[in-house]
Symmetry: C2
Subunit: 329 residues, 2 copies
Amino acid sequence: MDNKRVVLASRPAGWVSEDNFRLEAAPLPKPAEGEVLVKNLWLSLDPYMRGRMSDAKSYVKGVDIGEVMVGQTVGEVVESRNERFKQGDHVLTQLGWQLFGSTKEATPVDGTRAPLSYYLGCLGMPGMTAYFGLKEIGQPKAGETLVVSAASGAVGSVVGQLAKSWGARAVGIAGGREKCDYVRRSLGFDACVDYKAGNLYRDLKEACPKGVDVLFENVGGEILDTLLRLMNPFSRIVICGLIAEYNATEPYGYKNLRSVLVNRIRMQGMIVFDWRQRYGEALKALGAMHAQGKLKYRESVLEGLENAPRGLISLLKGGNFGKQLVKLA
Amino acid sequence: MDNKRVVLASRPAGWVSEDNFRLEAAPLPKPAEGEVLVKNLWLSLDPYMRGRMSDAKSYVKGVDIGEVMVGQTVGEVVESRNERFKQGDHVLTQLGWQLFGSTKEATPVDGTRAPLSYYLGCLGMPGMTAYFGLKEIGQPKAGETLVVSAASGAVGSVVGQLAKSWGARAVGIAGGREKCDYVRRSLGFDACVDYKAGNLYRDLKEACPKGVDVLFENVGGEILDTLLRLMNPFSRIVICGLIAEYNATEPYGYKNLRSVLVNRIRMQGMIVFDWRQRYGEALKALGAMHAQGKLKYRESVLEGLENAPRGLISLLKGGNFGKQLVKLA
């Protein structure tokens, strides 16, 4: 068994490039007492990884140069020195961009209830992000209008379906007609606006004739600034991601913040880790929706660790269509 | 008894000028059944008035051209056709920029407990704004650091003193050394930063060595954008006013909104009218502080209705020092 890993070779200025990564051979780790040696099967690629490549202050420390890129993985236990696990068990870990890793921090996952990769998506961190952001901050009520950006993505697709299940009207924003069709037809959103069509304000206004009560923001930049003009009194904005800013060398200048005052908007930033004590609650709710066939979900799969850098770059440019994964084995 | 009033003559583009107002003679109103005829003694000048001069969408309709400028007043009942009031009673009303007015909407005020003008300031709308914004949104805890802009003003001075009384550290922002000295020495804030000194970020950082847990924002623009860089995880921002933007022809572009995500900030807009059902609670709390000599307060008084336009213009430029009032009689 040969191990391979992708490390951070240099920090990007603006857009990430493949030069920022280095694929290298690595020794097969030996599990210490209490650890399991895991063969990673699936690697999740997520927008937050862009932040970790930078050394700017953020909510967690960035990746050091030469260090393995961070990431959540689902894998199979190949050797266990932890009594909670045996060989062949499937686990969710934070082993990052590598084929094998050794860890104490593993969570069992059940591949008979849902495909293993789902625990990196609609039943994993993205799904829980949607669940807690909506339940704790967005709080859509029946009849209200919710807008979610990056609506065809791992978080956005769950946000809209959850909001619909709670009786709200769900409007998505996505890039291009194909994604918008998917959001409306397959995910069942009430409407979807193509931000690439060039009429963002007009199209959003038309899709939200009663204004916007909840905005679940994954993108930021012009999308957020435009939506500020459409928010209703006492509306809520969940700031979950600002992917439009991650690669910009200059931060976006938001011009419509006055709407927060005029409309008494509550805008709140969120990071799913803040609810880690309640992951069980979210998994139960999302698992039930999945079991009933009410949680539509789409994956975008690349094969091979060597393609992970390309996958992340594409994701940051909106090139993925559905949850971006790398199949490692 | 001759009546006079100031009406809106034209809408300002950018800064307000005296040309936007017109002083005119007016008939003495006749109170209808249920109304009182009030001789206004004090007129309050407040930043929100700038918004009413514009026809941009806001939380309430603007003043029409030719209409009396809006404003809160304290006055004396000269004729009553309402059984709740008799001649000589003091009342708080919304009669606006005029010497006499007739209204059904009057609230009795007690001039023996505090000077009548205080019901337009620390015991009035500005005091209540401070109370509800802090209690319901800012929620400073003992030991936390609160920053308030326009700290020597009617709202800001109460915000800092309330926060101190709840055990928080209070840091003010004001324009010029004289105001800053007043905020520290007379109001008892722990520190005050002079935004005109040209080192806003550095001075705020020095005044808030543990970062900022609550920002009570009355000004906006560069002050808010700078403070976004200093906010702590799970901090709160009360958006009470954005006076820096009211006269700008181009809105300010906020560049540090990413801090809302990284630090999971809760930012919320507020308008005191939303708590009108609970004014009694606020008046009780603030009245008790005043009675104990724990609510320091300063007024900036202009004499004569004809000076109200000049007073508002000065207020919008930060020229007032303490609560801006016009003494009408």
